[in-house]
Symmetry: C2
Subunit: 301 residues, 2 copies
């Protein structure tokens, strides 16, 4: 189960650590999906897809490496509001996806076709084929995710998170089956806005709670800080402890193990008291070697 | 009244020949409009717009000069059928237009805003804000315009032309008023698929027949051949004489003058017999000087 960058890195590590990439299914958050310039964007799906295709922009965490912005610059000249950056190659993905979605093809099918075209062996699944929108409650009122995250640079304190439309959503085909794998890995993604939407899809949380799979989460908080994005700030603003222990409390009853960083080793006893095995190792994923090493540790016990 | 390339060249000449470009209104065919990759393309409107903005690709007759095709190439990699070529800068126009049309903004308003952003002084009007689709009857059955023109390279004999949806269309705001100008110029565009759709919009043909404006058409046929596109082949396959005289017969009762090329001077008497003044001059428009000279001749009598 994955959001964007952290999930993508770990997914890449897992494809290397598994016998075959086909053994990996990545269930990806789509609560960040939005309509931008009339195009249906799926930022987390694309970050995972581009990463597994070896074409991700690792500097920005979104988009395609070495992409150009010819179209976006021309759109700006035409008066379009271009705060949401889409490179020319990234646009291609969004144009193809949008056209097919408008033709009535489900997102899961579009995603499978895009992945096949890019030669990706792992299976990528959107959490749902229905539209779910992550909404952030802030002192300035409710904000859609991309407005909060991109336009306002996640500066607003988040007081709560809701998922618009989730009551009508169903897990995409294959999602519940994926939770019956040998191992279910919960990526080091934001628990509220990356993993929260996936768990909010009716049936997913219950399936994770009930599965006979070994369930292992990786903490996105290292030394009290998020490696990327607003996870630490959200833990604090929503009244949780800003640490791997705060993360462990969120996952209580849903995972068997929590992988925490060496620098957080002192938190292990408190985590174990929650009935979660604390696995202490280096969790910061730099290059591909880091990702595969961490992935190996998750799989081999 | 204009289609694509021929209309665009003459419109450019007219903006130079008039005291102010604001004195020109161009009513443009939208029967070629289509949805391509989920985007609403308006090829004739864009050819005129790019030409008046000084950014048209004069080699191809469509698109933006020196455009790149990064997005289209990436779309092809993703399995999209890319027979309809859209460059990166051209895509920007189509993305912006599509998003606004989907938001419910009329095409005439979107066009006005695009023109203002590109610094165009003349007024560009789509013939209608409603969707009208030019359909070609061929021995292989009915074909949509872009399929006939681009995908099948206008090789099919055309037996008839119909305009799907035209019975529900209204002239766009300003179209009927434009026909009350001092001079109405019918561009050297294809009479069947470029000017035909405009005249088919309810009210337009009657307004042209009844206007007190001086009405002058320019023949798209020179020496029995079309300067560009399938106009000559269509005249023939639909049983008309393939000459400026054949064109004159189509415009009988609708124009006061027909401008024909020096090389067709011998046809002048037969044209005059139709009650149309034949104006003989050089009608082949190469560069800007040619266009302005021809435009001057249309305006000054």
């Amino acid at each position: 189960m994955a959001g964007g960058v952290g999930g993508a890195k770990l997914a890449e590590g897992l494809t290397g650590a598994l016998d075959a990439p086909e053994d990996l299914t990545v269930v990806v958050n789509t609560g960040d999906d939005a309509v931008v310039h009339g195009l249906c964007v799926s930022p987390d799906l694309d970050t995972v897809m581009y990463t597994l295709a070896g074409m991700s922009n690792t500097d920005t965490g979104w988009g395609v490496a070495d992409d150009t912005f010819t179209t976006l610059e021309a759109m700006a000249r035409l008066g379009a509001d271009t705060w949401f950056q889409l490179g020319d190659r990234d646009l291609a993905t969004n144009i193809v996806r949008s056209a097919r979605l408008r033709d009535g093809v489900p997102l899961s099918q579009v995603t499978a076709d895009l992945c096949r075209a890019l030669g990706i062996g792992a299976r990528l699944l959107p959490m749902t084929d229905q539209r779910v929108a992550t909404i952030l409650e802030t002192p300035s009122g409710p904000l859609e995710f991309q407005e909060y995250f991109v336009a306002r640079r996640h500066q607003d304190p988040v007081l709560g998170v809701t998922f618009e439309g989730v009551e009508h959503a169903h897990p995409a085909p294959g999602v519940l089956e994926a939770l019956e794998a040998d191992v279910v890995v919960v990526a080091p993604s934001n628990p509220f806005v990356s993993l929260g939407p996936i768990l909010a899809v009716p049936g997913v949380r219950d399936a994770l709670a009930a599965t006979s799979a070994r369930r292992v989460a990786v903490s996105p908080i290292v030394g009290g800080r998020a490696l990327k994005g607003p996870a630490a700030a959200m833990l604090q603003s929503m009244g949780h402890e800003t640490s791997a222990l705060g993360v462990a409390r969120l996952w209580s009853g849903l995972v068997d193990e929590l992988v925490i960083d060496d620098s957080d080793a002192a938190l292990a006893p408190a985590i174990e008291e929650l009935g979660i095995s604390a696995v202490v190792t280096g969790t910061v994923m730099g290059g591909r070697a880091d990702r595969e090493r961490l992935a190996h540790q998750l799989l081999v016990r």
